[in-house]
């Protein structure tokens, strides 16, 4: 555990979360959410929870992104609000 590294990763996580919420294009939001999941996975692994990091990487960054892209391709790509 290195506190500085933790804080840098946490900063990336927060930036990705805010960007995923504020971007208009839904496909971009999904890709940023994938990056968010990957930084979250790095944070879990760095804090010693390797099993949780594994789950986060495979489920959220892997399958979750694909499922969101499939859902976006079935609906409108732009967000109204």
């Amino acid at each position: 555990m290195i506190l500085g590294f933790d804080l840098i990763l946490l900063l990336f996580v927060v930036i990705c979360a805010v960007a995923a919420l504020s971007v208009k294009d839904l496909l971009s939001a999904v890709i940023i959410l994938g990056a968010y999941s990957f930084f979250m996975c790095l944070l879990w692994a760095e804090m010693g929870a390797v099993d949780v990091a594994f789950t986060e990487a495979s489920v959220s960054a892997g399958i979750g992104t694909v499922l969101f892209i499939a859902a976006v391709s079935k609906t409108q790509r732009g967000s109204k609000d």
Binding site: D51, A53, F54, S58, I63, V66, L67, A70, K74
Partner: protein
């Protein structure tokens, strides 16, 4: 999303990559009880390999490997493996999923029986999660309407 692509690069890369993804998924499942990973993560990775096949080779070809019906059968079978091992422990006179008593059936010492029991449960969980992940993606990408259903609707209209 599930159209057939005729790009040779995508098809070739998927064909080379899918066996390695599946091998890695099997490794994660088999080593789940003494290293990070396990039935759920391995099952998700295995499901991802089938989703990659569906994305690159289209619905028609993917149905020869893994169809909607087959995914349902696999998910039920995985649950059957999981609950079957648990009930076997219950029948042998211990608690649900208490693998120590399996030593009388497997003819090994209780510590080894616990290891084998949890491996069996992880295999069951892996099969179920693989089938359910494929099924969720299948339903989202097709919208629940299969091509033969559309043909049937068209024939009925015409």
């Amino acid at each position: 999303m599930t159209r057939v692509t005729d790009d040779i690069i995508i098809r070739a890369v998927a064909r080379i990559l899918i066996p390695f993804i599946q091998l890695y998924a099997l490794y994660v499942i088999m080593h789940g009880h003494h290293s990070p990973g396990g039935g759920f993560q391995g099952g998700v990775i295995m499901g991802a390999s089938f989703i990659l096949y569906l994305l690159t080779h289209g619905l028609e070809e993917a149905k020869t490997r893994m169809s909607e019906i087959r995914a349902g059968v696999f998910s039920s079978f995985g649950l059957l493996v999981y609950s079957g091992i648990g009930l076997l422990c219950l029948i042998l006179g211990s608690n649900y999923l208490d693998y120590g008593k399996l030593s009388t059936v497997l003819k090994v010492i209780p510590a080894q029986a616990r290891s084998l029991g949890i491996l069996g449960v992880e295999i069951g969980v892996g099969i179920a999660v693989m089938a359910v992940m494929f099924s969720i993606f299948f339903d989202i990408s097709t919208g629940g309407i299969l091509p033969e259903d559309e043909e049937d609707l068209g024939a009925r209209d015409g």
